[in-house]
């Protein structure tokens, strides 16, 4: 085995060093392109999914959502919120109560959910207070003031996805009328308009929790959103909160992802299809190079076998050459990707409606891609080499 491997490696080295440099270059270049293609596509889609998920967590759900179990509201929510905040790894906690309402200004009307929030801790969980495009977010003592999402206010931004259903041209300082269920109507001054670039969260409207209590004095918290420090798992946080109260339901951000989850799952499938196609291209490249080479060397291989070089040794020499092409191509591809493409994309990121997308480099995945290409190349070289070796020595040398 050692002797056979040594001869195979020797023959493979000579095949590479003394065959056409154009052939070597083409093989390595194709593997390089395939490797970059897979790495780039995956990193881009993962970056895209990561951006969407980050936006979802930061503007819509937090990491963990706490819900009532068996009733519509969470009792003693303020005490519970304070206790959750003390759990190690919890970054922020905020509680919300919500009611559907119709908002109007002049002839324009829009339906929205009005959330009663505590401004003093809402920003600990969500980015909304930092994304004000007009005016300011609420403060604890605000009364008769409302903050609108851009998809509700319109704010004159016609590029918004739901602009046609919005109030179209409401700005900070304007007065809007809110019609609550039960016939209660109240006028509010628009204190600010936010744009999270995540249209589900940009459909929200906020008043303070105390203002909400004026509309519905019996109201209680319906939902608690918890954000976690980096590296803290949702399951750990849920287990800790369960120790505080057993009568609650819990959802992770993924479980609350809704349409986003379906969207990202689709992207993952697309990514797998693209990887499959790229790997197929690599396999075909190695197959063609080996096949064409072997057609031209049929007689030579017959002679090798006649002088005592075993068939497995000859096959292995072609596999080692394929391995060389793949390792060099993958290595160069990884270098170009990490040292050239990623820094350029960091400097000039792709922009999508949810924000900037940065390539998400996964070194483990890149290693796996290299291994996958190696495995595919070994098989792609094996098939034509095996077919050539199956020909008898007589036919190979004398072409009978």
């Amino acid at each position: 085995m050692r002797k056979s491997l040594s001869v195979s490696a020797f023959l493979a080295r000579k095949l590479v060093l003394r065959s056409s440099w154009g052939l070597n270059f083409m093989a390595i270049f194709m593997i390089l392109i395939v490797y970059i293609n897979i790495s780039f596509t995956s990193a881009l889609l993962n970056g895209f999914i990561g951006t969407v998920n980050e936006k979802l967590i930061a503007s819509q759900t937090g990491n963990v959502v706490v819900l009532p179990n068996g009733s519509d509201t969470i009792s003693d929510a303020t005490v519970l919120t304070e206790n959750i905040r003390k759990i190690n790894g919890v970054k922020g906690v905020t509680e919300t109560k919500t009611v559907p309402a119709e908002i109007s200004k002049g002839k324009e009307k829009s339906v929205a959910e009005i959330s009663g929030v505590k401004p003093e801790n809402y920003g600990d969980v969500f980015i909304t207070p930092k994304n004000m495009i007009e005016g300011e977010f609420l403060t604890k003592d605000d009364r008769d003031k409302i903050v609108l999402g851009a998809q509700i206010a319109g704010a004159g931004i016609s590029r918004l996805e739901l602009y046609s259903d919005s109030l179209k041209d409401v700005h900070a300082g304007d007065r809007v009328t809110v019609s609550f269920p039960g016939g209660v109507k109240k006028e509010y001054t628009v204190k600010g308009i936010f744009l999270n670039e995540f249209f589900e969260s940009d459909l929200k409207t906020f008043i303070t929790s105390d203002e909400y209590s004026l509309i519905d004095p019996a109201s209680k918290t319906e939902i608690i959103n918890v954000s976690l420090a980096k590296g803290v798992s949702e399951s750990y946080a849920i287990d800790q909160i369960k120790k505080l109260r057993g009568d609650l339901q819990f959802r992770t951000w993924e479980e609350r992802a809704g349409f986003v989850r379906g969207f990202t799952d689709t992207l993952k499938v697309v990514n797998r299809i693209l990887i499959f196609l790229a790997v197929l291209v690599a396999a075909i490249t190695i197959f063609i190079i080996t096949y064409v080479d072997l057609i031209n060397k049929r007689r030579q291989i017959g002679i090798e076998r006649a002088i005592g070089i075993t068939s497995p040794t000859i096959i292995l020499s072609y596999q080692i050459r394929a391995l060389f092409y793949t390792l060099i191509g993958s290595g160069l591809g990884a270098s170009v990707f990490i040292l050239v493409i990623v820094p350029i994309e960091r400097a000039y990121p792709f922009k999508i409606p949810y924000g900037s997308v940065f390539l998400q480099v996964n070194y483990r995945f890149m290693g796996l891609v290299a291994l996958l290409l190696v495995a595919v190349a070994l098989v792609a070289a094996l098939v034509p080499a095996w077919r050539t070796i199956k020909i008898s020595i007589i036919d190979a040398i004398w072409g009978n």
């Binding site: 006649a306 070089i309 007589i394």
Partner: protein, 225 residues
């Protein structure tokens, strides 16, 4: 040393059976230099391939040192070829990516000899065939005669008991052909290596210790020279 007993070989071309050898028996003694002659299509190359374990007989037996080797599996025949036999083919029988020296030592490398040992042996053999100054040349940089002498050196590298040469001078000019035959003769005389060669050139008879003639797949004459 090498014996075939009642061997026949039939090739199948499409639906037609084409007999190449009929019940041929032959014994080759150690140290012999045997020349196989005959017209084109007489079966001489087929006989050489059967003796050299490159092909298997349709019928009959092949013995090497009294052991039946005719029907061994390819892996075992390959091992015997590597350890005990050397081959010189008609033309273009060197590996194009290897230098003359590398071509010579490849079988020794396959046998697992140490690099220092096989490199030195390759140099010695190339020196012996007068090509020491060409050892770093690729086959395409060598003339036909030089290539055949490199092939002879390669055939010798594992110190084989027997060398088979299939019309080694067929594609060479007379001077180069003479040079190749003299090299084979020199090996036979100096190293007592058994040599079996196929030729259609009557002039090559003078190098042989015995000449057999084939006609239509049968030995019609065997004569010591």
């Amino acid at each position: 040393m090498l014996k075939i007993d009642n061997v026949s070989k039939i090739y199948r071309l499409g639906d037609v059976d084409v007999p190449a050898l009929h019940n041929v028996s032959l014994t080759i003694d150690e140290g012999e230099m045997l020349c196989i002659m005959g017209r084109s299509g007489s079966g001489k190359s087929t006989l050489l391939r059967l003796l050299g374990l490159i092909d298997t007989p349709s019928k009959g037996k092949v013995y090497l040192s009294d052991k039946d080797v005719g029907k061994l599996r390819e892996k075992e025949r390959s091992r015997i070829r590597l350890e005990t036999m050397g081959y010189v083919f008609q033309e273009y029988a060197l590996l194009s990516e290897l230098t003359a020296q590398e071509n010579v030592y490849l079988p020794a490398k396959m046998l697992g000899r140490w690099p220092k040992e096989y490199r030195e042996r390759a140099i010695t053999l190339l020196d012996a065939v007068g090509l020491l100054d060409r050892m770093k040349h690729l086959p395409r940089q060598l003339s036909g005669g030089q290539q055949q002498r490199v092939a002879i050196a390669r055939a010798m590298v594992n110190k084989p008991q027997i060398i088979f040469a299939d019309e080694p001078t067929a594609n060479l000019d007379s001077k180069s052909g003479k040079n190749v035959m003299e090299t084979l003769y020199w090996l036979n005389k100096n190293f007592k290596t058994t040599i079996v060669f196929v030729s259609h050139d009557e002039a090559d008879k003078k190098y042989a210790s015995r000449v057999i003639r084939l006609l239509d797949g049968r030995i019609i004459r065997s004569k010591a020279v």
